[in-house]
Symmetry: none
Subunit: 154 residues, 2 copies
DNA sequence: CCCTTCTTGACTAATCTTGACCTTAATGAT
DNA sequence: ATCATTAAGGTCAAGATTAGTCAAGAAGGG
């Protein structure tokens, strides 16, 4: 995977550390300094690449001895996590967030490449396009939740 | 092959790069600059020459480190059959007819049991339920067509 | 001439980067 | 104990950097 932006580089760096251990703790200022970016950029990377929909749990603490803890969660072993993902979808979801979830399912080997593609086309903007954007997001949520629920109880 | 327009030249250029690798990533502004055309011309070339019907998948990202990714995909043997099924669906389809089609796909071994289940969930009345029955049938047709279209390629 | 395809650019949208300002926690002085 | 200080991380919005859309006009081919 080509790293085009510094955010991509930081993402790859954090994931390389995560390769060893399923859980890491970093100090935000340290990472920011290492890549010569402002500290809030680390928040941006975490928010866009290490959220629950991507299969990560993040906790942090401020003040002296503060840290950011990133943990890779396994959707297979932890059926609660899949339920959390379903809950996080709620009654509406954007195409982008839905894609993120399906990608995670594939990376976690819960679904095959082809199954993932089928799910992707079923929830895609091109397929569901409606006049009312909110109606589209609600519909997408219903379909995705139905698909995930099916995966949960097979 | 006679290239009579700059769009043809750009098409040939992109395909020559694709000769090596089944997947390439370009920066729109770079290609546009190289051929001295406006950036949106690249979109035109991609839209008219690198769409799914022509056997190409295209993905892109905007913003810093943005790109356009073009991937060549292979048509499957059953592609023609699927196209005929797609044509028969038209713009609307009932749940019963959709189930019949998906069952046939499974019996013909075009899809696995699990893929069939996922497709069934995606087009089921329970998932798509709408006030307007015709709108529901139209939506179901769009989703089913999208799924079948995906099955035509690998 | 008419119709399709191509070319161009103004406007829009998504993503990334940066920095000012805010909140929380630990520590030490009184 | 209380409060000020210091040391973290959080939020948000503006600006920068790409790509996308759309429609008007030009160019080509019957």
């Amino acid at each position: 995977m080509e790293e085009r932006s510094i955010s991509d580089v930081i993402e790859a760096y954090l994931k390389s550390i995560l390769g060893d251990d399923p859980k890491i703790e970093i100090r935000r200022a340290e990472i920011a300094d290492h890549f010569d970016v402002v500290p809030s950029q680390i928040n941006y990377v975490i928010k866009t690449r290490f959220n629950l929909q991507n299969g990560y749990l993040v906790q942090s603490k401020r003040g002296g001895g503060g840290y950011i803890r990133i943990e890779r969660v396994n959707l297979l072993d932890d059926s609660d996590v899949l339920e959390m993902v379903i809950d996080s979808i709620g009654t509406a979801i954007s195409e982008k967030d839905a894609i993120r979830i399906i990608n995670t399912l594939y990376e976690e080997k819960l679904i095959s490449h082809r199954e993932g593609d089928l799910m992707l086309v079923a929830i895609s903007k091109a397929t569901l396009k409606q006049d009312d954007r909110r109606a589209e997001a609600r519909l997408r949520a219903r379909i995705l939740v139905a698909l995930l629920t099916r995966l949960r109880y097979e």
